[in-house]
């Protein structure tokens, strides 16, 4: 009896549905639709609060000799160009989010480093405030410096991106965007400090203040940046080398800058219509005292042919205050070893194998450094009278 009552409505439902076959189909379609939308809503709720992204690069470079451009010599290892990063974006409220990025680099034995850790807040649609650890916005690609996948090149042009090894700071910034008719102006002001151990030095920036302004019509982008800080630079690599020769350096010998005023200026433009991509930046960094003042520039052009984007890039960098470095660190080590001058010519291609993965091939020819091989393997350059080097790179970049 009980069973009958339970079964009856079911049978009724079935017979009612069966009576009009078409409405049955419709009902199924409707249910399917409801199910889909419920599923989507579930997904969107899940996706909204926390999002994970990341990027990965690996590659191999080899140079024609041991001049050491970007640290690449005749025998390099794959680990040097490998990195893996994970980024989490957590929506705190509708207007606030927390962002954290962990980067593990092959040349740092994959020790994860927090590259980004900041809270951002949008009080209005046009204003964004951020506080925490962020990238120093020296260059157009600073924000995505290590995201090889988002860049056209195998590596950012070293003439401009190479000399400054400090890449992040702790502080706060405010970004204001003015939307015009099919164009936008973005101004950013930032302040903070930085302590960083890089491959060749430890640097400290204190009372860092800077600003960027950029305009774009989504085809052309023009950008300007100015930064001032008090810089302290300790040449750890120089000290290590001296120590390896058993030389005890007097205190202060490897201090290249000691709370000295440092300024940075840059202008850049880019053009991207989906087919052609042209990018150029010109930068100047000035540091009081014996540390280098460097002018740099590059221009690159690429064209997309389906999944292939071949490019050409030329770059130049030169220290502007060589006449100030007349002294010596040690009797046989003149200050002039910091003098730098070189020209870089790159030809390469990006190949988008599948969305999210790109392979890049690059040949970079570097020359003109024989009189001022700063930042290169100086002993080798001088002893072997080398005046050029070729660096061959094969790289795989991915973003997910």
């Amino acid at each position: 009896m009980k069973t009958y009552f339970r079964v009856a409505p079911l049978a009724l439902a079935i017979s009612a549905g069966g009576a009009v076959a078409q409405s049955n189909d419709e009902a199924v379609a409707q249910m399917q639709q409801q199910l889909n939308s419920m599923q989507q809503q579930l997904n969107s709720v899940k996706n909204d609060r926390v999002r994970f992204n990341g990027f990965f690069s690996t590659g191999y470079s080899r140079a024609s000799n041991d001049v050491g451009f970007t640290g690449v010599s005749e025998d390099s290892s794959v680990g040097d160009q490998s990195l893996l990063a994970l980024q989490g974006t957590f929506d705190v409220t509708e207007k606030s989010q927390a962002v954290m990025q962990l980067v593990g680099r092959g040349y740092e034995d994959w020790e994860p480093v927090i590259e980004w850790a900041y809270l951002s807040h949008r009080p209005t649609n046009n204003l964004q405030l951020r506080a925490g650890k962020m990238r120093l916005p020296f260059f157009m690609y600073s924000d995505s410096l290590e995201v090889g996948y988002s860049q056209p090149w195998a590596r950012p042009p070293q003439s401009v991106y190479g000399p400054i090894e400090s890449t992040s700071y702790v502080g706060a910034d405010a970004t204001y965007t003015i939307n015009l008719d099919n164009s936008a102006i973005t101004t950013q002001a930032f302040t903070g400090f930085n302590d960083q151990n890089t491959r060749s030095a430890t640097t400290e920036f204190r009372n860092l203040i800077g600003s960027t302004v950029s305009w774009t019509d989504y085809l052309w982008t023009v950008r300007a940046v100015a930064v001032t800080t008090e810089a302290t630079v300790e040449a750890t690599r120089l000290a290590e080398r001296a120590a390896s020769f058993g030389i005890q350096l007097p205190p202060g010998t490897t201090t290249l800058a000691d709370s000295d005023r440092a300024n940075f200026f840059g202008v850049g433009f880019s053009y991207d219509d989906g087919t052609w991509q042209v990018i150029s930046e010109v930068t100047r960094s000035e540091v009081d005292g014996r540390f280098t003042d460097t002018d740099s520039a590059y221009i690159s052009a690429g064209r997309r042919f389906g999944s292939w984007t071949p490019y050409l890039a030329i770059g130049w960098s030169e220290t502007q205050d060589d006449d100030e470095r007349t002294g010596e660190f040690l009797p046989t080590v003149p200050e002039a070893i910091l003098n730098t001058r070189r020209d870089e010519y790159s030809v390469g291609t990006r190949w988008d194998i599948t969305p999210g993965v790109a392979i890049k091939m690059d040949v970079t020819h570097v020359r003109g450094f024989e009189d001022a091989p700063g930042g290169l393997n100086q002993d080798y350059v001088l002893v072997n009278e080398k005046n050029s080097t070729n660096v061959y790179t094969l790289k795989l970049d991915s973003a997910f």
């Binding site: 639709q33 809503q41 969107s44 924000d143 995505s144």
Partner: protein, 143 residues
């Protein structure tokens, strides 16, 4: 004779209309609570992270079909004017610099329709032959 020609014309016109209506055409769709129309430029701005609002001021939630879908290719050709590789690289930069997230990807045309019909402030695109009353057609982009 005159009447006959007229009726022939009508039939032809109707035929044309019918054929035109049945052709898989890209349409931009939205939630019923959203604006009635949108321009191609406004759609492009939303899908290229230049705008986060619909023309009526609502916060927008944009959806896209998966890679390989013919309507997605059509949308890229007519609206964003960028190919998938460009868009992937562009969005990776936006995401990893904290500037925004790409339009949410739905698995099929059916789920596109259901998610647009059930999400306030939604915008999406679909093959015109699959559109029904659950969503509003905001724009039919001209090739």
């Amino acid at each position: 004779m005159k009447t006959r020609r007229t009726s022939l014309t009508v039939v032809l016109a109707a035929l044309c209309l019918f054929v035109g209506g049945a052709r898989a055409e890209l349409v931009i769709i939205g939630h019923h609570g959203g604006p009635d129309t949108i321009t191609p430029q406004q759609v492009k701005d939303i899908y290229l992270n230049r705008s986060s609002r619909l023309p009526d001021g609502q916060r927008v939630v944009a959806f896209q079909l998966p890679a390989g879908n013919s309507m997605r290719d059509e949308f890229n050709e007519l609206i964003t004017e960028r190919n998938d590789a460009w868009l992937k690289s562009f969005w990776s930069r936006q995401v990893l610099t904290g500037k925004g997230h790409p339009p949410r990807e739905v698995s099929s045309a059916n789920s596109m329709k259901s998610v647009v019909s059930s999400t306030l402030g939604s915008i999406g695109y679909l093959d015109s032959t699959l559109v029904d009353d659950s969503v509003k057609v905001l724009l039919t982009p001209e090739p």
